[in-house]
């Protein structure tokens, strides 16, 4: 299975060294969905088409996109807002960066169509500090789209007007959480808030607001152009719809971002597309969907990569960022690294997260450095269970790699305790 075997949808205009221009985007059918939809479809019809396509959110949670748009009450207040999430701070994830660099107008058209579907007049594209290049590209391309009549007042001569602005983030992982992101845009301290009310009812400035990941939005023009059945047919299996951008990193020969059908086996992604494991490396574990997912063992090497198949074996697709760990990499060290990340990025709002994560980090640090004790294992399990009582999804996400470390690699953890040292060659200063 080599490149070219599967249809490229989101990456159809991707070039090795530069973005696709507006003209190139148009040559391949770009903005045709917008032209047709504004003439032929009511906003509600657009929601129904997306609902029928089974498009699920690509940012991590997998919530059905059409259903989210339909959650905006028809009699809800105006103005309404769209927040396009390109924060992408989940370790291992870089698909939004590659996608925006490939085809910026695909994002702009998707945002405009999404805005039309629930009556929004303004969108914010939320971008993290390390993606400053994206800010510049998008601000420039927004201007180009405006001059071509695809954005701004009375788009394509209709009475639909829509504005897109780029919002720079000041950093911090929690800003990618939908409610925290809205606080960030409003210039408030970006702590999450707990629904209800949901942002679709009361979001930015108390108005109906939809938060979508940019990869989700990029699918929208294609679905509206080709129909929901076409989209469903892209998945490799029944009930898997569309393609997915898989980011592969770690001990593989060709780390990178690959667009493949939803439901493609993990083993195929690693071997055929990412070039297999590096010479001398043997697979030990995979984080299948970013840092907030559970370690997957080689027993599940052939699992189809989609929401339901991973869910059926107790795992999550998350952001589909596949981090590959080999036999020589210490998973206690890796988990310590992930836990340091989450402890640092906790917003500190609630106690289970603020207190629990440093506690777990400390226990893992002692084990990794040969000062672990047998009685730490039940302490870790208890504290991980407590993290599920926290206010938002950050701490339960942080618990996932730790819990799975103990479930599947307890022997490796014990070896550290018994030998009073890390049994692996040092890869880093953990």
């Amino acid at each position: 299975m080599i490149d070219g075997m599967y249809p490229r949808v989101l990456f159809q205009n991707r070039k090795p060294d530069r973005i696709a221009t507006l003209d190139e985007y148009r040559q391949n059918g770009g903005y045709r969905a917008l032209e047709r939809v504004l003439k032929e479809h009511s906003p509600r019809e657009v929601c129904r088409i997306i609902e029928a396509s089974d498009l699920r959110g690509r940012g991590g949670a997998g919530f059905p996109a059409g259903k989210k748009w339909l959650a905006v009450p028809e009699d809800g207040a105006y103005p309404r807002y769209l927040a396009a999430n390109a924060d992408e701070m989940e370790p291992g994830t870089f698909k939004d960066r590659v996608l925006i660099h490939a085809d910026p107008h695909l994002i702009l058209e998707g945002m405009t169509l999404a805005g039309y579907s629930f009556g929004a007049s303004k969108a914010f594209l939320f971008v993290r500090p390390s993606y400053e290049g994206i800010v510049r590209i998008m601000e420039r391309e927004i201007g180009i789209a405006q001059r071509a009549g695809y954005l701004g007042k009375n788009i394509l001569g209709t009475d639909f007007s829509f504005e897109i602005v780029v919002h720079r983030s000041g950093g911090r992982y929690i800003c990618g959480e939908a409610t925290a992101l809205l606080n960030a845009i409003m210039g408030k301290r970006p702590n999450p808030t707990k629904p209800p009310p949901y942002p679709t009812v009361k979001g930015l400035w108390e108005r109906p607001t939809v938060v979508n990941n940019v990869e989700t939005l990029a699918n929208v023009p294609h679905i509206l152009r080709n129909g929901p059945e076409w989209f469903k047919g892209l998945g490799l299996k029944e009930k898997t719809a569309g393609t997915k951008l898989f980011c592969v990193s770690g001990k593989v020969n060709r780390p990178g971002c690959y667009e493949l059908p939803m439901g493609v086996p993990l083993s195929e992604i690693i071997e055929e597309h990412a070039g297999g494991l590096q010479p001398g490396s043997e697979l030990k574990a995979v984080l299948p969907g970013g840092a907030s997912t559970r370690f997957l063992t080689p027993d599940h090497y052939h699992v189809p990569m989609d929401f339901d198949d991973l869910g059926a074996i107790g795992h999550r697709l998350g952001t589909a960022a596949i981090m590959v760990f080999d036999r020589n990499t210490c998973l206690v060290g890796a988990t310590l690294n992930l836990t340091r990340f989450f402890a640092r990025e906790s917003c500190g709002w609630c106690t289970p997260c603020r207190e629990g994560l440093p506690y777990l980090r400390e226990l893992l640090d002692r084990i990794e450095n040969g000062e672990g004790k047998e009685e730490y294992l039940p302490l870790i399990r208890t504290m991980c269970a407590q993290l599920w009582n926290s206010y938002c999804a950050l701490a339960p996400g942080a618990a996932s790699p730790i819990e799975s470390l103990l479930s599947f690699f307890e022997d490796e953890v014990r070896e550290h305790i018994v030998q009073k040292r890390c049994p692996f060659p040092s890869v880093s200063g953990s």
Partner: protein
């Protein structure tokens, strides 16, 4: 004091925004670029431009890790220390930078050119190990590559000093 042209520009962008506070991070970034970091005077000026109290702005400044409330060097080097870079040689990247710059993580070189700080995953796992210098990303780091980058930055700094 902030030059009046910059202040007017920022005021105008705040007026144009639907809600002034939307612009809080943009205004802080602009003043941070001017002063080098968000000192107390910059905080007061930013708050005034935004129509916020200094305390309201402090809530944001202390939250975001790209807002610096302490002096930093002209070039802030932020080394990604998340899982993939950790796996791919973070330790040797840090060792190399610390020895070349003669500082530890969290410190600034005595000439005020470089500050070394960690950063969470910057989304360049396909070019790991990676780091940011101010807003620019450098990936596939090796000792040799780091030396070239530092040399380039030193040259740039000397040039900009001469032009001042």
């Amino acid at each position: 004091m902030v030059p009046s042209r910059l202040r007017d520009e920022l005021r105008e962008s705040v007026v144009r925004a639907e809600h002034p506070r939307e612009k809080a991070v943009d205004v802080m970034f602009a003043l941070q670029d001017h002063y080098g970091y968000m000192n107390d005077r910059a905080m007061a000026e930013a708050a005034e431009i935004l129509g916020m109290t200094p305390l309201e702005l402090e809530e944001l400044a202390t939250f975001y890790d790209f807002i610096y409330r302490e002096p930093v060097g002209k070039y802030v080097i932020r080394v990604c220390d998340s899982a993939v870079c950790w796996m791919n040689g973070l330790e040797s990247v840090l060792d190399h930078l610390q020895s070349r710059l003669g500082i530890s993580t969290g410190e600034t070189t005595p000439d005020g050119l470089f500050t070394l700080l960690p950063v969470c995953c910057i989304g360049y796992c396909d070019r790991s190990p990676a780091m940011l210098v101010n807003r620019k990303v450098y990936g596939n780091l090796t000792g040799e590559r780091i030396d070239e980058i530092l040399e380039d930055l030193r040259r740039q700094a000397a040039l900009s000093q001469r032009n001042d």
